[in-house]
Amino acid sequence: MKKYIAMLLGALALGNGCTSDRDFLDVKPTTILLLDDVYSDPRLVLSVVTDLYNRIPDLVKPSNFGLYAGFDEAFASGDYGRHQFRDYSYDDWNYWDYGYIREINLFIQRVNATTKLIPADQAQFVAEGRYLRANAYFELAKRMGGVPLITEPLTYDYSGDVASLRKPRAKESEVYDFVISEMEAIKTILPKNAGEKSRATYGLALATEARAALYAGSIAKYGATTPTVSLPNGEVGIPVSKATAYYQTALKAAQELITSGQYSLYMKRPDLSDNFAYLFLDKTNNPEAIFVEDFKLKSGKMQGFALDNQPRAITEEGERGGRLNPSLNLVQSFEKLDNTFATLPINKGIPDNYIYYDKPEDLFAGRDARLRGTVLVPGATFKDRPIDIYAGLILKDNSILTGNALGQLKDVNGVKVKVVGLSGPIDKYDGSAQGGFYMRKYNDPAVGSGQIGTQSEVWFIRYRYGEVLLNAAEAAFELGQGALAATYMNQVRVRAGLTIPLTASDITFDRIVHERKVELAFEGHELFDYKRWRIAHIVWDGSNSDLTTKPGVATEPSTRVYSLWPYLVYNPGGANDGKWAFRKLLSPQVTQSHNFRLGNYYSRISDGIINNNPLILRNPNQ
């Protein structure tokens, strides 16, 4: 009997199991969020789009600063290889992240499909997705030229034939047109909120449109000077006939942003150099920043620019700091307050015939205030402490006494004297000021920023109002409106202490190039600017030319970074005792001249990509 009961129970149990089969297997997971859950809650959708923001491709930025020394803005004190190769590789600066674009396309599709969000949120998220996608395409166009424009998530049907997924490269102009039209379409959907710096806004859409149209316009105009940098069907290269329309678009977008009155130049501090430095550090009510990558202490997202670039004399972390040394090439580019250019007066014709200065910083007096807002010159202070840069002593007989350790003491006529500054420079001493200068722009002066365990929360400004003004000035200049160009450029220059206004006839191509060089140094523009103006192969021409004596001329070769080393005169009782002298030098670590070949204008599309999609054409001259 017991046996029967057991069988009966067993049968019942089985029967039960069978009837509720579907429910039994349909258990909601407790550890992952499903698509429907995510796209029904605005907070979760925000976290998805945050991830996409986090993956915005920036080539150079403070949290990834090595490439700042890749050209002529800085000497890499420690990473000497940056100055020891000749040809830039065709693979340098390449970018091909269609995984990211697919995720954005999926994001847009899913937000569009959901019915659980309120319409305002839904519209904003879609617009943000479109911004990020257009921004990624802009980056692709800058580095690779025209690329396949994929605006839907592609799905493979497992048929064994992938031909339907293979798309050819669009024209370079089509990618720029796409960016411009996307910005026009989303600018009114995005919030008109200048206080929002980390997400896409109305202002950001306009700033991006202006920059993209300016790039396209200059590629069209100056591309005519390098006819071999093009492909027959326009995957690379834009016809010169399109230049004017692009410049007009750029000017119109920049003017719309300017007249909106939402942003203004940062002007909070009386000292103009301090003001320029704090433009990049001040995160409270910064009227100039339009779009940033933000960082926060103790959040897991900090950055180590200050850790690796604090002056060695005042380092908070043992042997760390001082890696990026602005070059003399850059420093001498900052013009004098009378709007003229001049090299730094360090000697009377020959290197040993010094010009003496009472204080080292006097050499840099009377120049563009941005110089000392960008660069820590010898004699400057940082975190209220002297940065102590000098390479050695000049003794009574004009000989030089130097050492091989930071702050080294040596006997001079029976007296112990410090022969090298605490920040160096010492040749091949990593982190010592081998370029003669240290970084101020983006360098965090907060106490603790130089410690590994703390680091820095200084943001990286991707778009700012100052650049918009310069974009407007350049577009106006190219459209023949010199007076308008001068108006925009003068606003930026007044903030730098250059109060004598430039007139319409002063605005030349050299002026445009120069103003961007000094205003936007270390902001990741130099490579892309030189590429779109097609002067990269002229400036980085592989010649071992000397440092130019014409810093205001855009096409002067600048293939190697030069250093400026200060020396202290030690001659007690002598006339020049305690004064300062300078020597220009080429570091022995700079062994090669950079050569930017015509094939470098657009990075190589790897063989792997072409194997996957034979429709992709190679870039020219490679």
Binding site: Y80, R82, Q84, T228, N595, G599, D607
Partner: protein, 235 residues
Amino acid sequence: MLLTIGLTACHKDNFAPPKSTFSGRVVYKGDPILVQTANITDVNNVTDFPVFLELWQAAYGNRSSIRVPVSQDGTFSSLLFDGNYKLIVPNGRGPFLWKRTAANMPDSLNINIQGSQTMDIEVMPYYMLRSAQFTMSGRKATGSVKLEKVITDVVNGKAVERVSLYVNTTQFVDAGNNVAKTDLVGVDVKDISSVNLIADVPTLIPSQGYVYARIGLKISGVSDMIYTPIQKLTF
């Protein structure tokens, strides 16, 4: 016994190394095309040479090229597996014109490697540098050269951007390796059959009683320069 298995496995797993040498020169009517030396550095990358040939082996699914650098005397050499290859010069490489297909892609040359072989690759340079002569008087190096414009048609012909005399302390002399140079820009080249250049040789550290000199021609719109042979000059 385990040891035996191990050894056997090792032996079976390994391929034989490539052992066929493919070498030769890049020439125009038998004269080598002289280019810049490869600056091989261990820091950035080792694959980019000023001028190189590409070999593509068709036997495999995923195609990737083998780069064969051309050294400054116009020679090249590569160690290969036997097989069928296609040889091209990539777009824009070299101071010469490489044949194009109708689709404007570099035309390819079939190369069948079965054992070592030597082969001269004939190309059409934009210019050839002829009858180069160098002399030294005092610390002045003088060089003269005749430019022969080989490609003269309107479509493919290119102008002279500059002619440069380079002097270096070693026999690697070119635009990137020199202690002294003199440039003559294209518009100042009045007579291409006789171009003369003088360069002042600076004090050499450490001092040596000789230098090497070479003249290079930069052609407008072409990245790679073409050079004369190198000559040793003694003071």
